[in-house]
């Protein structure tokens, strides 16, 4: 089910909304609310699309129409080429609503088991995924408590877990970080990045701009039921007239050298500062330290690693193991990472991506890229040759312009 980023079908639209309009009417069929009006929107395979807008801008209504929970007043929607109320397409979709509408009387394990069964998952696979997801969202210790007793953040965590139980091709997250602590928020962002790396399609609906900016490839901004602006993050956010260079601590002499280089090119240093650590990083560090010291908590713990079935191709994994057994292989069983690597095409490493981006012109609609301040991809994504060329214009493959 998993589709590799940049593989076959990447970029093809899996959701197409054309002239989508939703008007809520009262008993006398008078137009009460025009929630969505003439929205044209595409969600392309493999991208993380952020649907931004203030409260009441029509984001959730649009999502509910995509999910078949509402019917458009006019216009058309196709999800995976079919009508949104087609039951068959639901197998490929994961959905986290704006609030966690869970059964209060079920505990966390039963909740995940229930939604796993709705996807017809075989028992063993279901149990395995439930275990992984409970660990991932940090609710192992609270798994036998009824969900009705959970805090809002814990309910969001279990809500997120149910959205992932089927390893969805297309994940719809409606305000996913609402009610979550910084650990949970960070984890969701990491998860979206990871899913994006695996070629999953994510539609992220939020009014928290920082969340969207950190993880999305493309953004659509809604207001008053209409899409006001749409484009890639780079297209919309990158300032073409300013550049920031980040490096290790420099002494005054080196700074002067840099300044002189810039002066030769008709530029000057506008600001030199030591960046502050983000509060999020500080907070996470303290919590991790407390956990390392074994401090007790009755709430959710820090989530564990992202569930294995979301980061590997489970079916391919199982299929390879079966082939190995049938072939009577005498080799030692490979580690999980090796098992995954063998049958799957290797995703391009961040370093390769940088080289490729330098070697070929950037397409108008760039393939989705991992972003975020904590993403390993982001760190390696920095092209250090630019610094080298600034310090020594004579070196390197080309001249700075």
């Amino acid at each position: 089910m998993a589709v590799e980023r940049g593989g076959a079908g990447a970029g093809e639209p899996i959701v197409v909304c054309g002239k989508l309009t939703k008007i809520f009417r009262d008993f006398w069929m008078r137009n009460r609310v025009r929630a969505v009006e003439d929205v044209d929107l595409e969600v392309r395979r493999g991208e993380v699309l952020g649907l931004l807008g203030p409260n009441g801008s029509g984001k959730s209504t649009t999502i509910k129409m995509i999910l078949g929970l509402l019917r458009p007043t006019s216009g058309r929607i196709a999800v995976f080429g079919k009508r949104p109320d087609d039951v068959a397409i639901k197998k490929r979709i994961g959905y986290l609503p704006e609030e966690s509408y869970l059964y209060r009387f079920l505990d966390a394990r039963e909740t995940l088991d229930y939604y796993g069964r709705l996807f017809h998952l075989e028992r063993r696979q279901r149990m395995r995924r439930v275990e992984m997801l409970l660990e991932m969202v940090g609710l192992e210790a609270a798994q036998r408590r009824p969900v009705g007793e959970y805090s809002k953040g814990m309910q969001r965590r279990i809500g997120l877990a149910q959205a992932l139980i089927n390893d969805p091709e297309f994940l719809i997250l409606d305000e996913p970080t609402t009610g979550l602590d910084p650990i949970g928020t960070r984890q969701i962002k990491d998860l979206i990045l990871e899913l994006g790396r695996r070629g999953k399609t994510v539609l992220l609906c939020s009014h928290l701009l920082a969340d969207v900016e950190d993880v999305c490839d493309r953004i659509a901004i809604m207001y008053g039921g209409k899409v006001r602006l749409e484009g890639t993050v780079d297209e919309l956010l990158v300032r073409q007239d300013v550049m920031t260079i980040q490096t290790g601590l420099l002494d005054d002499r080196t700074i002067e050298q840099v300044e002189s280089v810039l002066t030769r090119h008709g530029r000057s240093i506008e600001r030199v500062e030591r960046p502050r650590q983000k509060l999020e990083s500080l907070f996470l560090e303290i919590v991790q330290r407390a956990q390392a010291e074994g401090a007790a908590t009755s709430g959710a713990r820090s989530g564990g690693k992202i569930a294995e079935f979301l980061t590997t191709d489970e079916q391919a994994d199982q299929g390879q193991a079966l082939i190995d057994r049938l072939a009577g292989s005498v080799e030692e069983p490979a580690s999980p990472a090796q098992e995954v690597a063998a049958p799957q095409p290797q995703a391009p490493s961040p370093a390769t991506e940088v080289i490729e981006s330098l070697a070929v012109p950037k397409p108008t609609e760039a393939p989705p890229r991992a972003k975020g301040p904590h993403s390993p991809a982001k760190d390696q994504d920095v092209d250090k040759s630019v610094i080298d060329r600034l310090l020594d214009p004579g070196s390197g493959p080309g001249k700075a312009e």
């Binding site: 609030e99 869970l102 279901r126 039921g225």
Partner: protein
């Protein structure tokens, strides 16, 4: 922590096993006293260890559950012990019954959850429905009521009463109570689950998974019906057990009392209604009478409407059901070949609607059956109370017919008591055994289950478009109307005069409007109001199933068979037509509605 909890459990099991082993070996060596002390000592240590473990590991779900069971058992045991000390043995049986039924229901729910544990999405919805019913306390209250009703009712009855009446009362009220309690539970559950899912928006998550709306409704229905099946099974077993306990309790007044229990109550009997004897045709009698009347009063009886004709025939039938003093009437029964073959006793069932002297009278009846005169006997007949007269089945002729002539004769020792008026239809019947109590009870419970299926479908369908309170009220209205449909039909038939009975369709409608206008013109406002009320009532009754026809509690308590034909009819009409119909309507309504609400 969990592994330590398991260690506690294994140590406890080891203690019990070791104690039993030592006691067995010691006893085998002939040291009985030593074996006894071993059991006491080992048991005490094991008990203390067990109680400590239950307290210490109570945070674990399994141990907490086990602790609840142990606590409930200990409380029941203590209560039983106190009742035993105070000499109330029946109370001990009732407490044991309540505990057993509660345990059976608890075990049954566990088993049910396992049975509904497949990977099917419909079964997943069904199992969550069962969880919701139990954990949201809706069903728990009903389960508690059932667990109290069935064991306590038979034990609370006065032992001075005839055993037959006690058993009939137990059966009648238990089965009726079970039907009503489960009916209400079904309605509340069905309405609450769908309306709750829509109101609390759990439906957003469920129906964005690969599950259609029909599958969702089906899952809910399966869950409710699985729970109903369990509760009916457990209560049915409870009713059966307590009835048999009563029968064998030795509290009967005399042998006849016990025999009547076995022959009239704990059986399945077929009834044959009396027909006019061969050669008597009320239609012909009417024609002869009307001919005579026309000869005497040619103008008055020149035109006789169909209604008047039917009324006269009804009067003739009523006269046939009335036996004046020093008079007799003949009643003919057919289709009794099966009873003849069994060599059993046929019961002549007399149900007087009224006797001459009010509430109770004593009459002397002489019987002649298929030409054979039976010994004259004195019978005490009371208004609306059934009396049974045994008749040897050998008197049935080869064609399975029985002609019973009943004479209301003078008792030389008593004053003349007057006429006897039997209820039309069921007033004079012949009953014979065709099966046992167990099968009859099982069929009755199955019919009840089928009726509950309709209520579940109705509740689910209503809640797809209505909020919980409105859906509940609608379902309760239909439930009451459907259960008492026979009574309402009779009441409506007597409620105000019909506009015209000899026309149908649009002519009937025109006649009704004409009657309404005429009544208003004549200033008979109340009479005119009766016409639309009657129309509304009849329309409503046409729109609900006649569940009253499947009221099985009375049949079982009266020892009358709940036949396969009734069961088949219930399955076909209530199950096949109304339940499926309601389900389809609910599905169509559900498909057409939007699941989300305005949120901008």
């Amino acid at each position: 922590m969990a592994s330590s909890g398991r260690n506690w459990w294994w140590i406890l099991a080891g203690m019990v096993g070791t104690t039993l082993l030592i006691a067995a070996v010691t006893a085998a060596q002939g040291f009985g006293v030593a074996a006894g002390w071993t059991v006491v000592a080992g048991g005490s240590v094991g008990l203390l260890w067990g109680l400590w473990g239950l307290w210490h590991w109570r945070t674990q779900t399994t141990v907490a559950r086990l602790g609840s069971i142990v606590s409930a058992t200990a409380a029941a045991g203590l209560l039983g012990f106190l009742l035993l000390l105070s000499g109330r043995e029946s109370g001990v049986i009732a407490v044991a019954g309540v505990w057993s039924m509660a345990a059976a229901m608890g075990g049954g729910v566990w088993l049910l959850r396992k049975l509904l544990g497949g990977r099917s999405a419909v079964l997943a919805v069904a199992r969550t429905m069962v969880d919701e019913a139990i954990r949201m306390k809706v069903a728990l209250v009903c389960v508690g009521a059932l667990a109290l009703l069935v064991p306590v009712l038979p034990m609370a009855l006065d032992k001075q009463e005839l055993l037959r009446y006690r058993i009939m009362f137990t059966l009648s009220w238990s089965l009726m109570g079970v039907g009503v309690i489960l009916g209400l539970m079904t309605i509340f559950l069905a309405c609450a689950t769908v309306a709750g899912d829509l109101r609390n928006r759990q439906i957003y998550l469920t129906l964005t998974k690969p599950l259609g709306r029909g599958g969702y409704l089906l899952g809910k229905w399966v869950g409710i019906m699985a729970l109903n099946a369990l509760l009916l099974l457990v209560t049915g077993l409870g009713v059966y057990t307590f009835v048999i306990l009563l029968e064998r309790s030795g509290t009967q007044r005399d042998d006849y009392d016990l025999r009547s229990v076995r022959e009239q109550v704990l059986v399945a009997r077929v009834s044959a209604e009396a027909q006019p004897p061969p050669g008597v045709d009320f239609e012909q009698v009417y024609e002869q009478r009307i001919k005579m009347l026309r000869e005497e009063h040619p103008e008055e009886f020149a035109q006789v409407s169909e209604q008047e004709k039917q009324n006269m025939i009804l009067a003739l039938r009523a006269a046939w059901h009335t036996i004046e003093p020093q008079n007799s009437e003949a009643y003919f029964f057919t289709g009794l070949s099966a009873a003849r073959g069994g060599g059993q006793v046929i019961q002549l069932r007399l149900h007087p609607l009224s006797t001459a002297s009010g509430t109770e009278t004593v009459v002397q009846l002489a019987l002649r059956i298929n030409g054979r005169v039976m010994p004259t006997n004195v019978y005490r007949l009371a208004d609306r109370t059934v009396s049974l007269i045994p008749i040897p089945s050998s008197l049935v002729d080869d064609r399975g017919n029985l002609l019973v002539e009943i004479a209301n004769v003078d008792d030389p020792n008593r004053p003349l008591t007057g006429s006897i008026n039997f209820a039309p239809g069921e007033g004079v019947q012949a009953l014979y055994r065709v099966g046992g109590f167990e099968g009859n009870l099982a069929r009755a419970l199955t019919v009840t289950w089928i009726k509950l299926g309709f209520l579940a479908a109705l509740g689910l369908a209503s809640a797809t478009v209505l909020d919980f309170p409105v859906a509940c009220l609608l379902c309760l209205l239909v439930y009451v109307g459907a259960s008492a449909s026979g009574f309402f039909e009779q009441s409506l038939a007597d409620f105000g005069a019909k506009a015209r009975s000899d026309v149908t369709g649009w002519r009937q409608l025109v006649a009704t409007i004409y009657a309404l206008v005429t009544s208003l013109r004549d200033g008979e406002v109340w009479e005119s109001l009766k016409i639309p009320i009657r129309m509304i009532g009849k329309t409503f009754l046409a729109m609900v199933p006649a569940l009253g026809r499947y009221a099985v509690a009375a049949s079982v308590s009266d020892g009358q068979v709940v036949g396969w034909s009734l069961l088949g009819s219930a399955a076909l009409w209530v199950g096949g037509l109304w339940t499926v119909g309601c389900g389809l309507v609910g599905w169509v309504l559900f498909r057409t509605r939007e699941l989300a609400r305005v949120m901008v």
